[in-house]
């Protein structure tokens, strides 16, 4: 019962709530983190002997708080007289703590902790690193590995981020409804960033980054437990689950991406899909759509198709149209064009993406799709030009080879299909 895996699990799962409560108490991130570390060390000594506490989180918060206060007192004794305020606060700590844990308070605590990590002054890479360090409790070494940088560089990045938020002065009062929903939106975006950091990886280092996806899902679930009635948080969690369900089928043996329609769908993780579908289903009953729900609904239509031919492309087209209105972006339109090509044909899809040329001139998927559509329209010469542009935009030789291979196959398939009509025209 109190084996090391159990203790580690309890410490990991208690961490966000405990550090968040300690942050409210000490109003200083380093002190809160250090206090939590100390409490964990005590837990490792005490729990195997005395058995696990009924409420590990409350135990950790209380012990962390008491040891930190002792530390403050010890230091003060050497410097000056003890602080009355601290002593009286300490004596009723226990009942006080029980109150606070049972209240809604901790929901705002955890939200605040996450919100601090996505302060607008911090660049995205620092936000993610900070959240993984502070909220998830990953070691600097683990984070450095996921970001493919050295440990000391990552240490520096996190220290810099902490210094910046120390100056930023995040308010500790209970937030109002508007502020709470703004915080929630910022935090959701940060969780999605963490996920994409893992999900967008390819090549031989991709497996090192996959834990970021797991961690993002854990954070999304944490948010959802705190905000059980928020459809967008249901949507976010569903989106991450449905996308990550494809993980075992997404890469070939060289670590190159396998496109959705070529993936072996039997490898998709059914448990993730089931949970994702349940959550998006639940979210949509609220009739308060948002970008995460729409994206999750798109992922759900892919997940529901046992074979690529079974995909409900008309539904995907309609959902992308909704997403275009909510979050206009050339990449969204590009994705919609794929659905349009299946529903209304390549000419309509091509007309849709041609105006995007200037904005997406550095995006190889744009030229890949353009080439594919031109090919379907029998404009093979123009298609080759577009394909060469796609290859030129590859980041690595391996990626270029991969794109080339895919294009060769596309050309071969289309030529096989066109043989009939071409011959009859001649």
């Amino acid at each position: 019962m109190t084996d090391l895996t159990w203790i580690n699990g309890a410490l990991t799962s208690a961490r966000p709530q405990a550090v968040a409560a300690l942050l409210r108490y000490f109003r200083d991130l380093d002190t809160a983190e250090e206090a939590f570390q100390n409490a964990c060390l005590r837990a490792l000594k005490s729990w195997p002997q005395n058995g696990p506490p009924r409420d590990p989180t409350a135990w950790l918060i209380m012990v962390a708080r008491n040891t930190a206060i002792d530390e403050v007192r010890r230091r003060r004794k050497q410097e000056a007289l003890p602080d009355e305020e601290h002593i009286s606060d300490d004596s009723d700590a226990e009942s006080d703590m029980a109150d606070r844990l049972d209240s809604d308070h901790y929901r705002d605590d955890v939200l605040r902790l996450l919100f601090i990590c996505c302060h607008p002054d911090l660049p995205a890479s620092q936000q993610i690193a900070l959240a993984l360090r502070i909220v998830s409790g990953l070691s600097v070494k683990q984070i450095a590995r996921a970001f493919l940088v050295g440990e000391s560089a990552m240490e520096q990045r996190i220290t810099r981020a902490k210094a910046r938020i120390a100056k930023a002065d995040v308010p500790f009062e209970t937030p109002g409804a508007v502020e709470r929903s703004e915080r929630l939106a910022a935090v959701a975006a940060m969780v999605y960033l963490v996920f994409n950091e893992g999900y967008s990886a390819s090549g031989p280092t991709a497996p090192d980054r996959e834990p970021l996806c797991d961690e993002a899902i854990r954070l999304a679930r944490l948010l959802l437990r705190l905000f059980q009635t928020e459809p967008e948080i249901m949507g976010l969690t569903a989106l991450l689950l449905l996308q990550h369900a494809r993980a075992p089928a997404r890469f070939d043996s060289q670590g190159e991406i396998i496109l959705l329609e070529d993936q072996d769908r039997s490898l998709w993780k059914r448990a993730f899909i089931t949970e994702g579908l349940a959550l998006i289903d639940k979210a949509m009953r609220h009739r308060r759509p948002g970008p995460y729900q729409v994206q999750a609904a798109i992922a759900a239509l892919h997940a529901r198709a046992a074979k690529p031919q079974d995909t409900n492309w008309a539904g995907i087209d309609a959902l992308y149209a909704t997403l275009e209105q909510m979050q206009p972006s050339p990449v969204v339109t590009l994705n919609r064009a794929v659905a349009v090509s299946k529903v209304r044909g390549p000419a309509d899809a091509l007309a849709m993406i041609e105006p995007l040329a200037a904005k997406l001139s550095g995006y190889f998927y744009f030229f890949g799709l353009k080439g594919g559509l031109l090919l379907q329209l029998g404009r093979n010469q123009e298609a080759r030009v577009a394909f060469n542009q796609a290859i030129a935009l590859a980041h690595t030789p391996a990626e270029a080879a991969h794109i080339r291979m895919h294009i060769d196959r596309l050309i071969a398939e289309t030529e096989a299909k066109q043989k009939g009509p071409v011959a009859s025209r001649a």
Binding site: W6, G9, A10, S13, R218, R225, M234, L279
Partner: protein, 124 residues
Amino acid sequence: MLYAILCYHSEDVVCSWPKEKDEQIMRQLSEVNEKLAKAGRLGPVARLLPTTAATTLRENAREEKLVIDGPFAETKEQLLGFFVIECADLDEAVDTARQLMQANDGATYEIRPIGYFMPGVKIT
């Protein structure tokens, strides 16, 4: 007599398990299940999705039927699954729950004798 053995555990903890740990627990549980199945004692078994996927339907004081997100009760440990098992008496039920507990450390098992049981049709 039929018993429902309800498995409670902290969802926070279970969701933090690494994949290997989860798989190991499921393997150990299915070993217990296999033994019970061989003895002809195992009925339906279910692992429930997290309570974040739960929806609760209840009536308020004005007799309005409300659909609420989340589980019926907010508890420190959540109902995560159940087993329906034939046991001669409570002693055997406790012994069976003990085997399940050994396979899934940290979980709590509530043993509830079943008053009415309908196996239903075979569903997939």
